[in-house]
């Protein structure tokens, strides 16, 4: 096996498209997950085209209508088309989740890298802050923060970022500690490279893999967190078509099962996609696994 791959290194590389295809066939979970996620991303881009009606348009004659040709996912209490609302809901959940993950990765990676690379009092200050934040179960802390900040999407994003960044800081720090002991870092230092340039040019590029795997997983996790906050009445407020808030509308209406079912399926699909992507990425990027 290892002999074959070292031969492959000498052989001329196949064209990029062929290589990508081969990858996709070798890592089906990555492929399936990406397909679902891209479908949802297209939905956010073309929501106005895909959705038959305005997600806020009320039509009281149709209130609580069961799924039909006119309303494929049924209609809610105010006669709004649930299908249109689910489609438009992607415009809130997906960008919100990406923003939270990007903020957390940037903040966590910077602080974790600084802590791991320089050590000392800075390390202690950063990591103790992270420890304290991680001492709360994430949903509980996010709930408390958004309760204090007040409801709304921006505050939900802030709460989720506060909860998430320490995980990246901790991960990055442990990666840095592993990498900085490697010979090429020692060699770079022996050649007189400045600390900052060692950090950015030699250490960081070699510490990415578990971070990317985790980020993919967290996009799904944050969608769950934000929709949970909205479901509990703390995140996105009605009438905005957010999935968690939509599920809350179906809470006491067992007979009108379509109120909660379809937005929940959307959440499930996106999280499933992220889990699949994360697993596929791990299998692909981490040969030890």
């Amino acid at each position: 096996m290892s002999a074959a791959s070292s031969v492959g290194a000498i052989r001329r590389e196949a064209p990029l498209s062929r290589r990508i295809l081969k990858h996709l066939r070798k890592y089906p979970s990555l492929w399936i997950g990406l397909t679902i996620l891209v479908a949802f991303l297209l939905m956010t881009l073309f929501a106005d085209v895909i959705a038959p009606t305005d997600p806020l348009a009320q039509n009281l004659r149709d209130r609580l209508d069961a799924p039909s040709a006119a309303h494929p996912f049924g209609a809610d209490e105010l006669g709004r088309d649930i299908y249109s609302r689910v489609v438009h809901g992607a415009r809130i959940s997906l960008p919100a989740s990406f923003v939270v993950v990007i903020i957390s990765v940037v903040v966590g990676v910077l602080l974790g890298a600084v802590a791991g690379f320089f050590g000392g009092a800075l390390d202690a200050a950063i990591m103790r802050t992270a420890d304290v934040t991680l001492a709360f179960p994430s949903v509980v802390l996010a709930l408390a923060i958004s309760a204090f900040l007040g409801p709304g999407l921006t505050n939900a994003i802030i709460a989720a970022s506060v909860v998430l960044w320490p995980e990246y800081a901790r991960l990055m720090r442990s990666q840095i500690l592993v990498v900085r002991a490697q010979e090429y870092v020692v060699a770079a230092r022996a050649l007189g490279a400045r600390e900052a340039s060692i950090l950015f040019r030699h250490v960081l590029p070699n510490a990415w893999t578990p971070l990317i795997v985790k980020a993919a997983l967290d996009v799904g996790g944050i969608i769950l967190l934000v929709s949970a906050l909205s479901f509990l009445g703390l995140g996105v407020q009605p009438p905005t078509p957010e999935w968690g808030a939509m599920i809350a509308l179906g809470r006491t209406k067992f007979f009108q099962w379509w109120l909660a079912t379809f937005p929940g399926l959307a959440i499930l699909l996106v999280i499933l996609a992220c889990n699949l992507i994360s697993e596929g990425l791990r299998n692909w990027l981490d040969p030890h696994y």
């Binding site: 001492a135 179960p137 509980v140 923060i145 479901f231 599920i247 809470r251 909660a260 999280i271």
Partner: protein, 337 residues
């Protein structure tokens, strides 16, 4: 030696708790609301006596750092203030709501372990087999399901349409609660010899346990499977096999070593259970900490939010401490680290 190890861990926990109280205090101060309103509530603001008493008790006329010390001191005495909603001291409320969460968390843990270990062993011993792949699919699905939604769907199907599960709550509305001893309805019913209530309480636990335990189940399954695969490759397993031990006995050999990583996992699982409780309890009208916190948050009941959050963080830290300690007892190598 063990005592020393335990004391060292305990010492680590103290700055943690300090930090946690600081975080909660900061939350208090970051928001643009007068802390006085937060403590006495809007309606009591007209009453100068109550206001003066609160200013005195919480040191609101002194500098911020002194306020923090007063605040931390009050908390150390178990004084979290009074809930605006229930008008009771928060500590009393917490004592009332904690048992329901504990009961749900414990039954979820038992469920996850009872199903997760055997399934994980089979999946690990026959890696790549049918059961292994089915277990993989199940845990992937479980990790992707939003618990508050699954709870609703289960209630819709099993309670509303099929009628085989009871509705929300801990007991049927017509059922009398057994006299409160532990606060866990199943245990209290058993103590009182009220077997009808016991059966009913168990039945009510079924759906929320399935939802909340599902997440932990996936976690247990994954860890047992992975360490089972690892253990089955070891030399002592090969020795056991070559001396003709029956396969079942070989698996038991390997399983004993698998259980050590499982202990660490339980701390993590407990955090998941507490987070999950916040998301599931509301759906099942389960009168636990999750419900309490969510209701407090929706009504801006700040003392209640703080007390509830602090209690959950404390439970989490103590659990991790116990897990750490158990780990040290089970695996002597850890004590040296």
């Amino acid at each position: 030696m063990i005592l020393q190890f335990f004391l060292r861990r305990l010492l680590f926990a103290i700055p943690m708790m300090f930090g946690i109280s600081l975080v909660l205090f900061l939350l208090y101060n970051i928001v643009q609301v007068d802390p006085l309103v937060m403590i006495v509530g809007e309606r009591a603001m007209d009453n100068p006596e109550i206001v003066a008493a609160a200013v005195q008790k919480w040191g609101l006329d002194r500098p911020v750092w002194e306020q923090y010390l007063t605040y931390a001191g009050n908390m150390l005495h178990g004084d979290f203030g009074s809930s605006f909603l229930t008008k009771r001291p928060v500590l009393e409320d917490l004592q009332l709501f904690l048992p329901a969460t504990l009961e749900l968390a414990l039954s979820s843990l038992v469920f996850a372990i009872a199903i997760g270990i055997p399934l994980g062993v089979i999946a690990g011993v026959r890696a790549g087999g049918l059961i292994d792949r089915a277990a993989w699919g199940l845990s992937l699905l479980n990790a992707s399901l939003p618990p508050f939604w699954t709870g609703l769907i289960f209630l819709t199907i099993f309670y509303y349409f099929l009628g085989i599960a009871p509705g929300p709550g801990r007991l049927d509305p017509r059922m009398a609660f057994p006299p409160r001893v532990t606060g866990l309805v199943t245990l209290d019913a058993a103590f009182a010899g009220d077997w009808a209530a016991f059966a009913n309480a168990l039945h009510h636990l079924m759906l929320p346990t399935l939802i909340l335990g599902g997440f932990t189940l996936a976690l247990v399954l994954r860890v047992v499977r992975a360490s089972m695969i690892e253990e089955m490759r070891r030399e002592y397993v090969r020795t056991a096999r070559s001396k003709g031990l029956p396969p079942r006995a070989v698996v038991v050999h390997a399983l004993r070593n698998t259980l050590i990583p499982l202990v660490t996992l339980l701390g993590l699982a407990f955090a998941g259970l507490l987070s999950g409780a916040v998301m599931t309890e509301t759906v099942f009208d389960w009168p636990g900490l999750g419900t309490y916190l969510v209701r407090a948050a929706a009504n801006l009941d700040y003392p209640a939010i703080q007390g509830g959050t602090l209690l959950i963080a404390l439970i989490y830290i103590v659990t991790n401490l116990i897990v750490d300690f158990l780990y040290g007892v089970l695996d002597p190598r850890v004590r040296l680290a």
